[in-house]
Symmetry: C2
Subunit: 167 residues, 2 copies
Amino acid sequence: MDWLNHLPLFSLGCILNDMMNKHDMNHGSHSIGRLIFQLQRLERNPRTFGEAGTLTPSEIHAVDAIGEDGNVLMSQLAERLGVTKGAITQVIRRLEKKGIVFRGEHPEDSRAVLISLTDRGKTAYQAHLKLHQQFYQQLQEQLSPHEITIFEKCIKIFTGLLAEKNE
Amino acid sequence: MDWLNHLPLFSLGCILNDMMNKHDMNHGSHSIGRLIFQLQRLERNPRTFGEAGTLTPSEIHAVDAIGEDGNVLMSQLAERLGVTKGAITQVIRRLEKKGIVFRGEHPEDSRAVLISLTDRGKTAYQAHLKLHQQFYQQLQEQLSPHEITIFEKCIKIFTGLLAEKNE
DNA sequence: CCTATATAGTTTAGATACTATACTTTTTGT
DNA sequence: ACAAAAAGTATAGTATCTAAACTATATAGG
């Protein structure tokens, strides 16, 4: 749902609409457009995660990247989330104020900061995870293993092409 | 590769990572994470579209929604792009300054504004379209019609589930 | 041992993109 | 005729990110 926070039909939606059009005008021409539209809408707004309160998309995103084990460096977070260290500093500051994460010392490097989830943060993590699992279960009910295999392959090819464009 | 385990995704990436993991631990567990990563990067930066110059993602998005035929109401654009009218006012103002679009009068409603692409705007539209087509062609070379059919089905189911969550 | 360079993280200003709200003007329905 | 709806604008605020300059610590080579 996060993918397309900012993913307008800049390229993808239209690309796949083209693909679907040529493949089968009647059935799938607008599938991707609708998908993107729904994805955009779903993740535009903050959400409540259990008793941890309301988190913005980038906040829960960070919580997810920290994980229950925690002890993650700021720079590791930056790499996992694909943003600059400055961006991480900002989101961690907000999460610290909300009591979702805390900063710990690194035993061997005094420059470093090790980020972990508080108990409150872990409830947010769990609430988020539960959403995933529910969604996954519903998806499982409607897709066969064979279909998942194909889906996966398509996604891989797609990603490879995107990566080329991005480089 | 550890970073992929906690990828940046609010929900979707992880959901599908879960799906892929259960389906086949070795092959596809991280496909979706990578896809999302690439998509995010793709949508972050402005790009150059032919001689029309550099456009931000939301700008080319608007150009795409206006289309070569143009004569689109502000409120129609808002609906197509899934944003408020206020947001449209802002992006159209920027595009007008850049000489990409112009405002025309509505013949029967003096409140209304009909947006169309200038010649310059049309070159941006065409450059964008060409990118789609190239992408589509590359995709076609690597996917069979059967695979596209499955892909389409998976996407539809996915969208249906998302729409439920959204409503 | 020193010093140059790399690394960890922060700060700040500015860009982008969106919303919500209040507003003007015009159209429409009863 | 007049209230309500609709088209669009303006503005202030929120969220997110980057780039660049900065501090402080670590490390590697002479």
